[in-house]
Amino acid sequence: MSGLGILFDVIISVLIVIGASFALIGSWGMVRLPTLMERLHGPTKATTLGLGGMLVGSMLYFMLGEGQWALHELLISLFLFITAPISANMIAKVHLHELRTQGDDAVAGPAGRPAAPSDKANWATYEAPHADSVAATSES
Amino acid sequence: MSLTAHLAIAPIVIPALAAPLALLLMRRTRHLAVSISFASCAAMLLAALVLLNASADGTIRTYALGDWPAPFGIVLVIDRLSSIMLTLAATMSMIALIHAVVTRADRKGWHFHPLFQFQMLGLNGAFLTGDLFNLFVFFEVLLIASYSLMLHGQGPARLKAGVQYVIVNIVGSSLFLIALGLLYALTGTLNMADMGLRVAALGPDDQGLLRVAALLLVSVFALKAALVPLHLWLPRTYAVTTPAIASLFAIMTKVGVYSIIRVVPQIFGDGAGAAAWAPAPYLLPAAALTAVVGFAGVFVARNLSEQAAYAVIGSTGTLLIAVAGWQPDTLAAAIYYLVHSTLAGAALFLVADVVARRRASFGDTATPGPVFSQRQLAGLLFMAAAIAATGLPPLSGFIGKLLILESVFDTPGWGWAWGVILATTLIGVIGFARTGSAIFWKETPPTDGARPVVVSKADMAAPAIAIALLAAWSIGAGPATAYGAAAANQILDAAATARAVLGEP
């Protein structure tokens, strides 16, 4: 194997190891952090650096190692980059919703309950978006 | 290849085109959709008759879909039995369709005509295919169409019964797949003829698994055929279904019976080792029990549609008593009686509707009500249908039962078979006499303010046709039984079928 080949091997292996490690760390965080909002930070690692690392590793693996054209892994990353924040946002909304509807039974976590941003409007989970605001997309 | 060679596919192509066309037209021009539906049924009947005639010479025709040879592709197999079933199905469709249109049942919900055509597609496909997995697919087609047709018109009773009907059949379909998986794992093929050959070559290590597969497969068919104790889904389902549909459903249980007749000799015949005639020891007792339970239901039923539903169970039991003999003459008897019992079941459901439509709030319950219009005629129709269903002369049920009695004579357990057939006939006669006399003879003074329901005689056409066909089936019993006997011989000669499907070895 050529020196370049070894270099590629090392790069690919490092990417895979980093990716796998971050996936594990993300899942570990999800287990050990105290409440939902903290745990929600875990998956971001799995999605971003974890899966990202492995996808790039895979890409290089196929392109450099096997000589195949393999860029489509990027698409998965692109897709996840678009969707992961939305998932997190929706889950956070679920948490906020629970905070309100379950009252004292709900575990607010160390960050407590979020205060209303201003006296004119509360968060959208608690108050329907104002009709004329940007928040009112697709409200019919 | 000439166009007639493609006729084999016609019973599938016709409804498969008619259904989407009716779907497209239904919303705008209803009458056109109805016409398409009728034209399709007529065309199916014509095609079936041509196939029936062509099969009369004893040749088994195959049709390789996609030109892929058996056993690698799917082939249709047209022999005497499948021709009979196709003709029967097309006939039933005509009767049911006439009744649905005449009684305007087709307007009581969405998509009647497309679903009806799809239902026919499923039936025809099941009767034609020579491939086990393809049989599963057509089972599903006919089932899903039947779910929707069964619910046509809706209402709480249908919905409640529908849930049960659907779920039981979903379970049945799952079991079908398990059996299929086992058989493919063991034989490596899906073509029934090929499977029969390969089953015969299996080693001793595989016999247990093979027997499991055989029993599983046949019990799936038994579920469709509503064989006790797998019949529990039927009474309520059929009793609450729109009668026009229920009349078509009379053939649905026969699909299960047909499949048993098709599959057992072809795959689990003499050469099948531990699976040879695997269902045989269970079939006769189960069939006898089915006949008893069915006619006991007829005996105690409190309304005509329920009675009809139980009669369907009972007749299936009687039919399977004959099938369980697995001899040329018992199968011949079964085939003749199969056609008869399908028509008779349909006639009962249709008559129940004729009565219900006239008796306003009394419906078809066996409680006396005020005199209703055309009671005499309705009573005659009922009597004829009941005579047919119980198997009294002069309609074909009598000949069918005679055939069965004679053919099972001297087979093991013939005494039981005879006893059950005759006793259930009597129970049925008493049951029908009771409901009939309560509805057509007894009367109560008309309730105040209730206007008599005025219905035209047109809705008697469909049951009358069914009864006329029963009479014809009786009069023409000579040629009919001859054709049935030839079909039975053909079915039992699995080797000949295998040669026809797979080519000479």
Binding site: M37, A121, A135, A136 | -
Partner: protein, 161 residues
């Protein structure tokens, strides 16, 4: 031309995506990709009313910055998860006032915040002027708000003119 290609950015993106998916750099693939890049935006236009104008150059720069931040932040948060005790954590809700006025821009900002580990965009206010962010460890919430506004919102204002 404007009618044929209402959103050139989207069209280009689709062509790129098509080529990525096809995973083979062929002329045929490119042609099909162009057809799709033209047809799909037209077909889907009703589903995205009022698409904003985008400064693509600023957009690409922003993208690179975010990618870098993601990597860095990942390591920071990995450290926290692995070695910081729960009772030492300082999670906090940040209420970020926004000057962005298009839903697209707000979404990109919120997405950026979520993708960079340590912060999760949790909600938008009913008036659309505030973003609720949960920070995993923010001993000084005001500083964190300021950082986000400076590092991301300011740049985004340039991307979405």
């Amino acid at each position: 031309m404007r009618r044929l290609i209402p959103h050139p950015g989207l069209s280009v993106l689709l062509v790129i995506i098509w080529l990525l998916m096809a995973n083979e750099p062929t002329v045929g693939g490119l042609l099909v990709g162009i057809v799709i890049g033209i047809l799909l935006p037209i077909f889907t236009a009703p589903f995205w009313p009022g698409r904003p104008d985008v400064n693509y150059r600023a957009g690409v720069a922003y993208l690179l910055l975010v990618l870098w931040d993601i990597v860095v932040a990942n390591f920071e948060i990995a450290w926290i998860i692995l070695f910081r005790r729960n009772r030492d954590l300082r999670p906090a809700w940040l209420s970020i006032p926004m000057e962005l006025d298009t839903p697209e821009a707000i979404t990109v900002l919120a997405g950026t915040i979520s993708l960079t580990p340590g912060t999760v965009s949790s909600d938008v206010s009913a008036c659309g002027n505030y973003l609720l962010v949960h920070a995993l460890d923010a001993p000084d919430p005001e500083a964190e708000i300021a950082r986000i506004k400076a590092r991301y919102e300011a740049r985004l204002k340039r991307v979405f003119k």
